[in-house]
Symmetry: D2
Subunit: 348 residues, 4 copies
């Protein structure tokens, strides 16, 4: 997307640009060689990230995909099954890394609107190892659930699913790329959502606004092994403190996610009011709009919106995703609604 002063970029909360404070923090960061564990800023970020989700330890990695794939790699053995939701990020968008890098066989559960499988579905999906069948090596959940519209899943629903797996001796990973959005939406501390799982991924570079980086967190033994897998995958960085420093500030942006949620609600209401468009009230910062009734294909909508100065992404044949974030304020939302309204009117 060519940068254009005027464009309201709602493609993703990954497009946020770092604040002045983050830029200053990068400049002033105390650094060392993190491969030798000598970078004090990274070390502090890892400590504070662990605190933020209530785990013993945490590891800083270049991307959410690497965070999730490290978790899969540490928890499973090749040939085991990976149980996850049919529309989860790990299954849909990570280039089959779970099979290719870790040799796991995926088993999917369609959780529908619920986004997290019921305890019964988890029970049914768990496979015990025998002569003919690989056992389940990991249950992976996602909160908020990106593809299903940024749904904030209550902690007890996560706990119920996780309990079934853990009772069967199967570890549980949470892809919490946007777990703080869930926490804020639900009015709980993220550690409450994370408590019932073994490990969690979250991103500093989405709603929290850091330029680069994600966290994978768990107990000390997990993080020790994760550090080794990070090196295998090529994620060991040197004076990483320069990008970890903005990450520390990102951890202070948790509360302001509420603004993004309010903006998303406003945007959804505005879009839903359009003829032929339906956009249910979002839980968090992701607005999913259906334009089937208007007969507008998502691909066409995305192109026309781009021309009209609104960035968005196609999710499905008739489904388009709009995401609010730190660089979008209430006025931007209102402007976006206007522009999209014009586009829809023209295309319908």
């Amino acid at each position: 997307m060519e940068t254009d002063e005027d464009t309201i970029d709602l493609r993703s909360d990954t497009v946020t640009t770092p604040s002045e404070a983050m830029r200053e923090a990068a400049r002033d960061a105390e650094v060392g060689d993190d491969v030798y564990r000598d970078d004090p800023t990274v070390n502090e970020l890892e400590r504070r990230a662990a605190d933020a989700v209530g785990t013993e330890a945490a590891l800083y990695v270049p991307s959410g995909t690497m965070a999730n794939q490290i978790a899969v790699h540490v928890h499973t053995e090749p040939g085991q099954e990976l149980l996850l939701e049919r529309e989860s990020h790990v299954y849909r968008w990570e280039l089959a890394g779970a099979a290719k890098l870790s040799g796991t066989q995926t088993r999917t559960i369609d959780a529908g609107e619920r986004c997290v499988p019921t305890p019964e579905a988890v029970h049914e999906g768990l496979v015990e190892e025998d002569l003919h069948r690989p056992g389940t090596g990991l249950l992976s959940l996602e909160n908020t659930h990106n593809y299903r519209g940024g749904t904030a899943i209550p902690a007890d629903r996560i706990a119920a699913a996780a309990e079934v797996a853990r009772d069967a001796g199967v570890p549980v990973h949470l892809d919490g790329a946007r777990v703080f959005n869930a926490a804020v939406a639900l009015g709980v501390d993220a550690s409450e959502i994370v408590a019932p799982v073994d490990t969690v991924t979250f991103c500093l570079s989405k709603g929290l606004g850091a330029p680069v980086g994600s966290i994978v967190a768990g107990d000390e033994a997990f993080v020790d092994e994760a550090r080794r897998v990070r090196k295998l995958f090529g994620g060991g960085m040197r004076q990483a403190g320069m990008i970890a420093a903005p990450g520390l500030l990102a951890l202070e942006n948790i509360d302001r996610l509420a603004d993004d949620h309010a903006n998303a609600e406003r945007l959804a209401a505005g879009l839903d009011a359009l003829d032929g468009v339906s956009a249910p009230e979002p839980d968090t910062n992701i607005v999913v709009a259906r334009t089937e009734d208007a007969g507008i294909a998502a691909a066409d909508l995305v192109t026309a919106c781009k021309d009209a100065g609104v960035g968005c992404v196609e999710f499905d044949e008739y489904t388009t995703r709009f995401t609010t974030h730190i660089d979008v304020d209430r006025d931007d939302v209102d402007a976006a609604i206007d522009r999209i309204g014009d586009v829809v009117a023209e295309l319908a």
Copy 2:
């Protein structure tokens, strides 16, 4: 299972013992070193196997699992998706070989009673390669469908599913371990079922009664590559003519599968007549009995049947499988019904 003169072994059609003619054929087989392609009996078996399913070429391998896994390996690249039915053998019973040996990510379709996915379901299940998603590398179908009860799937249903994949440039494999059961049940030639797919597996050692071996068949280019993968997997055998010779006779057993089907129908009727047991009329030689209404767990039924002289296998919590084959005649079926009837009466 300890062999017992009296036991009626309905665990699987894999338990059949070779006929006298097969034993004589093994003794008299002309052999050579098949790794050098010098075994005339294997060469003839491969030619006749190809003819039986209407393909250009065929390869003799030690097991149906190897046949299927070779097909997956030849057709796909690591990281591509393997699209298959949720209860298919390749997904359920092959120790995640598709992920472990070939690095594919599985995507499952629940085809229910239909056993083969609808064209719409195939269409929806195909994934186009992009920056974030692995493309689909192979569609794998199964006929008869073992786990769903030996269902014989009409050729046009296979063709409809295959067409969608092939139109998208995705090859199609058929796990036809029991494809001749399907052909006989449907009253067509196996080549008609196989025509719309690229490659097919079938077993000489199931209903056809050979002691050992399966076939994977396709065009010459496929079989050349399959031969190499067979060696990689350790399936290259030396004077294999000694077991290929009974395989040649097995190919003459196709028509007699009709007897197994008649016996299975008789068995299902007998079991279904029992209180608390339901056993729908089978298409082929696999009878699936549900004992939930009788409150009898499959595990208990299997154990009690074994004591009563009937071999069977647990499929699910309340589902038990009985399979007819060349070593079981009509009297055996009647005796089995009696014995199972007693067991059910006692357990219920």
Copy 3:
């Protein structure tokens, strides 16, 4: 190779055809479904194979390649190193299965004429796991050493190499495809050679004359896991007793390997006497002839020998391998020397 009454086939000891007794044994074999462990002949073969090499347990598999690859798979984890001799079969001829099927990184030692690495070389080759380096998962040795000329390696040399690995906690596998040739040549029991290693492969289908099959042997825990990996690789066979029965007779062919060795010695002497040909006295049944001095490329020699009625194989630019076996007697050897002599005279 087209079969020709007259041809003396010295390509490999894998080309042997089963004896009448083996053929009768196949016909008369008591069989069952070995996947259910119901085949009494296979069970007996596995017991007697374990006895023959002095291990707790053994597993019957379709090929020597599968036997070795199962051992690699059971002993190692992906990312560990496999330490082996530079010209070993596992490294040269098994299609990189150790990397492809098991994800191990190979580290080679050039043992030269000694064929088995010195203790010092093993010590130097072992890698301890650390943050940057995968640890060694397995040391694999070979006896007799095929590519280096069927060399029979004394038990104490195997023991010395194995001890270094085992002291470092690294298991040791012996590719003993022809371990009984080594035992006979050295005048010891095979169990003496096997004693210092954890697991061993041997072939029933080479000098011992069985049509099909190899053994991988070790302790009970290893064989339990190996059985599962055999299924994963597609090596589970059904009424395998029909080919296991000749395997039982093959175990009685151990002592007669001495005849093959005497014939090989006679052949080597005859070839070495030819101008421009050097063929060192062999330890066992493999004769390696160099024709560089005669200016005859191995590829040309193989072709001309084939026309003259002698089967042999190219090993290297100027190196050709001739192998004696149960189907070749002293007169055949003399005839082969004559024919090869004519060929060399013509080509030189």
Copy 4:
């Protein structure tokens, strides 16, 4: 290593801390979402990196390990051989990624002091694909050669090795983590060294002084595929411009590597003058000191040096590596020689 004002850190040129100018550049960087290819700073860095080594295109990645592993993954297929030098970084220090992530079998050449295999050795190491053997998929070279002492390998020696591979249809990768050190030492442009190979890795974070990041470069088609593999491995970063900006300045640090080389030469001379220590004159910035004659184990030397305020790393039982870099000036070198002299005197 605890940071200590006084310590002269010669462990690696990866320990350098970014300059003020780099810190300012990070703060002021124009950024975008690089996963969408919207980051102008990354785009510029990739263009200028390609120019610096004379390739069509280039890709920014988090580490040198990822750069190399991406090259292996793009160039090879699972089961192919990777031919490389026995002490190369890809083989020694990358956690067997080539086997684990790409399924390649490694074949090593011991190039000794020459560091790059001779054309004859490459010829001998190339394996043609046949029924039994995986073909060679990639030749990987390294310049400067890290483990052998930062050796700068003349361009024609690289060209000679590469030519043999390319003539056989095998692509060539150069691990040029420190290729600019080689270029400066040899007095040529890096593009001259890179010209005969297909792809090259180099690090911004070593002698060039950037905080984070490496480059993998080649033609457009390669980089397109590499971008996808980067995502698979989890190396896709968001507003990466903030660390790419210092990388742009790092590219201006090429000429000043001459100072590091002069300092390394001075250090080697100083160490070699010590009794019991030998340190050959280095080509570039890596000094390798042997202390076997002094009877001082490298592990002990490293520990004692650390206490005395000099950072260094153990390479081997009696070999220790010292590396000069931008944060070490001539006075630091003289101080280091004094301190190490005292340590050696005490330990000897």
